[in-house]
C-alpha cells in the first residue's frame, strides 16, 4: 500500500477503510488509477472518454470535506467507471453510436445522481456495443476493447469496457447495464463480479433505452462485498421511472455472512446445455467444481430442468429488437444527435439518410428485425408468440423457486472468444448469451462471479439467479463461495498471444509485473 501505483488494485471496501482513516487521499487513489490508464489504456481501450477534470474536482472536494471532519458515505473517493449509456450532465454521452456523437445531456441519470451523492469519483465513460446491442463490444462505433487477460480476446459485451476497466484496475468499480446478459457475460469473460438486480430495483431514468421491459442497471466490481456496497448506493425507488419498485432497501452488506447452511441450490440443466449442445468442457468442470464447493459449505444441491429455457434465444431476439425498433425511433436528427447534411429537401429522406449513416450494422439489423416482427401480418406469429413463451419461461422459474433458493449454472457457454471470431455470424454471436437471457425474460436478479480458469488461462464465470428482490440471497451465496476460493484475488496482466506468452496471473499485491 505504500506504493501509490498499487492503490488502484485494491477493492472499494479496502480503499474505503484507508480513505476513512485518512491513510490515503481521494486524489492519491485517483492518481493511481490514471497512472494505470496512462500505462495500458492505449492497448486496452476500455474507455471512450476520460473525465480527468471532473474527477480531480470531485476527489479534491472529497478530501476537503474529510479534512473538515464531515461524515462521508462509505464509497466517497472511490474511482468509478460509467458505461457510456448513462446520461451524465455536462459530459458527452454517445451510447457508442455515431448518431449520438457530441450529445451532451442536460441532466443526470438517477443512478449517476446517486453515485455523485455518495462521493464516487467519475474516471470516465466506458466503451460498449452500440446501444448495448452485442456480446463482445465489437459493435462500438469507437473501436474495440480488449480482454485484459488476453489482448487477442474480446472482453464480452455489451458492458465490455466497464468489465475490462475493473479487471485491469483502470477503475475500482464500474457501472454496466444488462438487457440479455450485458453485465454478467463481460464480468464472466473478464474474471470480475457483476450483478443484474431485479427488474425495477434500480431506476432506469436517464439510462439510454434499448429494450425497456428487459433493461436493468447494475454494478461490476472486483469482489462480492464491493458489489453489495454498490447496491447500497444504487437501489431504491425513483418516481421518474414508472417501473421502479417501491420496496424497502436493505443494507446489502448484512447478507455477507459466509454461511450457507440450509440454502437450497439448483443446478439448471439448461444453463449447462442448450438444445442438446453442452457448454465447453472447461466451463462444465468449473461449474461442477463450484457446485461441490457449495455442498461443502452446507448448501443442499440438486439438478433441475427448466425446459422452456431452450427457447430463450428466439424469444429474446424477437422481443428485444421489437422494443428496440420502437425506442430507437427517437433518433431522427431533429432534437439531438447526428443529422446527415444536405438531405433537407424531404423529411423522410432526411430521417432515412440520417439513420442509415448514424447507426451501425447490428443496430440496423435489430431495428429491421423488430420492425418486421411488429409489422402487420407478422405480429401474432412473432411478437405475440414470443411474449407467450416468455410467460412459460417465467413459470419455469417460479416452479423451480418453489424448491430452490438459488439457481446456478454457467454464465456463458465459453470463455472469452477471439476478436473477430463471431462478427460475421450474428446468430453465433447471439448464442453466446444463451445462459443469461432467460434471467432478463423473468425480470429476476442474476449475478456472475469468478469460479475458475480454462486450460488457456481465461476466467470462467458462475451464474447465480434468485427470486424477485432476493439480491441478498445471491450475495450471501456468492460471498460464501468467493471466500472459499482465490479466484477473485487474481488480477489480469494484459499480454498478447503474439508475445508467445500466456496471460500472466498474479495475486494482488504479490507481483512485480
Amino acid at each position: 500500500m505504500s506504493a501509490e501505483g498499487k492503490l488502484n488494485e485494491l477493492t472499494a471496501h479496502e480503499l474505503s477503510g484507508l480513505l476513512g482513516t485518512g491513510q490515503v487521499s481521494a486524489r492519491e487513489v485517483l492518481a493511481a488509477v490514471y497512472g494505470r490508464i496512462d500505462e495500458i489504456e492505449s492497448e486496452m481501450h476500455a474507455y471512450v472518454l476520460l473525465t480527468r477534470e471532473v474527477a480531480e474536482q470531485q476527489a479534491t472536494e472529497i478530501d476537503e470535506r474529510r479534512a473538515r471532519k464531515e461524515k462521508m458515505p462509505p464509497l466517497a473517493g472511490v474511482p468509478l467507471a460509467l458505461k457510456d449509456i448513462y446520461c451524465t450532465k455536462g459530459i458527452e454521452t454517445t451510447c457508442c453510436s455515431k448518431i449520438l456523437k457530441g450529445f451532451v445531456p442536460p441532466y443526470d441519470a438517477d443512478v449517476v445522481e446517486r453515485c455523485r451523492r455518495n462521493g464516487l469519483v467519475f474516471v470516465g465513460k466506458t466503451n460498449m456495443d452500440e446501444f448495448a446491442m452485442g456480446s463482445s463490444t465489437e459493435n462500438s462505433a469507437f473501436g474495440v476493447t480488449r480482454n485484459p487477460w488476453n489482448l487477442d480476446r474480446v472482453p464480452g459485451g455489451s458492458s465490455g469496457g466497464s468489465a475490462a476497466a475493473v479487471a485491469s484496475s483502470e477503475a475500482v468499480v464500474a457501472m454496466g447495464t444488462d438487457t440479455g446478459g450485458s453485465i454478467r457475460q463481460p464480468a464472466s469473460f473478464c474474471g470480475v463480479v457483476g450483478l443484474k438486480p431485479t427488474y425495477g430495483r434500480v431506476s432506469r431514468y436517464g439510462v439510454i433505452a434499448f429494450a425497456s421491459s428487459l433493461d436493468q442497471v447494475g454494478p461490476i466490481a472486483k469482489d462480492v462485498r464491493d458489489c453489495a456496497l454498490m447496491m447500497n448506493v444504487l437501489a431504491g425507488h425513483d418516481a421518474r421511472d414508472s417501473t421502479s419498485i417501491d420496496a424497502p432497501v436493505p443494507d446489502y452488506t448484512q447478507a455477507l455472512v459466509g454461511d450457507l447452511r440450509g440454502l437450497r441450490i439448483g443446478l439448471v440443466k439448461e444453463f449447462m446445455q442448450y438444445q442438446g449442445r453442452s457448454v465447453d468442457e472447461d466451463v462444465s468442470l468449473a461449474i461442477n467444481g463450484a457446485l461441490a464447493r457449495f455442498g461443502e459449505l452446507g448448501a443442499e444441491c440438486e439438478e433441475v430442468s427448466l425446459p422452456h429455457l431452450n427457447y430463450s434465444i428466439p424469444v429474446y431476439y424477437i422481443i428485444a429488437p421489437a422494443e428496440a425498433s420502437s425506442n430507437l425511433a427517437r433518433y431522427d436528427g431533429v432534437q439531438y444527435g447526428h443529422r446527415t447534411p444536405g438531405a433537407d429537401a424531404d423529411i423522410v429522406e432526411m430521417y432515412s439518410r440520417t439513420r442509415d449513416e448514424g447507426f451501425g450494422a447490428e443496430v440496423k439489423r435489430r431495428i429491421m428485425l423488430g420492425t418486421y416482427a411488429l409489422s402487420a401480418g407478422y405480429y401474432d406469429a412473432y411478437y405475440l408468440k414470443a411474449s407467450q413463451v416468455r410467460t412459460l419461461i417465467r413459470r419455469d422459474f417460479d416452479q423451480a423457486f418453489e424448491r430452490f433458493d438459488v439457481l446456478v449454472g454457467a454464465t456463458s457457454p465459453t470463455v472469452a472468444f477471439r476478436l473477430g471470431e463471431k462478427t460475421d455470424d450474428p446468430l453465433a454471436m447471439y448464442l453466446s448469451d444463451v445462459c443469461t437471457i432467460p434471467v432478463n425474460m423473468g425480470g429476476l436478479p442474476g449475478m456472475s462471479i469468478p469460479c475458475g480458469f480454462s486450460a488457456d488461462g481465461m476466467p470462467i464465470g458462475l451464474q447465480l439467479v434468485g427470486k424477485p428482490l432476493a439480491e441478498e440471497v445471491l450475495l450471501r451465496a456468492a460471498y460464501a463461495f468467493e471466500q472459499s476460493t482465490d479466484c477473485h484475488q487474481r488480477r489480469a496482466r494484459p499480454v498478447s498471444e503474439a508475445d508467445g506468452r500466456r496471460s500472466a496471473v498474479a495475486r494482488a499485491g504479490h507481483d512485480s509485473a
Binding site: 423529411i347 431495428i367 408468440k385 416468455r390
Partner: protein
C-alpha cells in the same frame, strides 16, 4: 426464403432506414437465417397462455400533479442539429 429483398426494402422504409444495395442483400440473407432459427417457436403449444410484456405486475402508476421546473429552452435546444428562433428546424413538411 421467408423474406425477399423487396420485403426487406419495405421494412427498411417503415423503419426509416435507407439501405444501400449491398446492405439490402446482406440483411436479406442474415434476417432469413435468423427467422429460420425462430421457426422452432411454432412447435410450442401456447393456447391459453397469456402474453407477458412486463416482469413486474404493475399498472397505472400515478403521482401528484405538481408543477416542477422543466428544462430551460436553452438546455432543450442545446443538442439540436439545426435550430431557428427557439425552435427545432426540420425540412418543409407542408407545401
Amino acid at each position: 426464403m421467408r423474406l425477399t429483398p423487396k420485403e426487406v426494402e419495405h421494412v427498411a422504409l417503415l423503419a426509416r432506414l435507407r439501405l444501400t444495395g449491398e446492405e439490402r442483400e446482406r440483411f436479406t440473407t442474415q434476417l432469413n437465417s435468423i427467422l429460420e432459427h425462430f421457426e422452432q417457436l411454432q412447435q410450442i403449444d401456447t393456447s391459453g397462455v397469456p402474453p407477458m410484456s412486463h416482469a413486474v405486475p404493475m399498472s397505472n402508476v400515478l403521482r401528484e400533479d405538481e408543477p416542477a421546473p422543466p428544462l430551460s429552452l436553452g438546455e432543450a435546444l442545446q443538442n439540436a442539429p439545426d435550430q431557428d428562433r427557439d425552435c427545432f428546424r426540420v425540412p418543409r413538411v407542408i407545401e
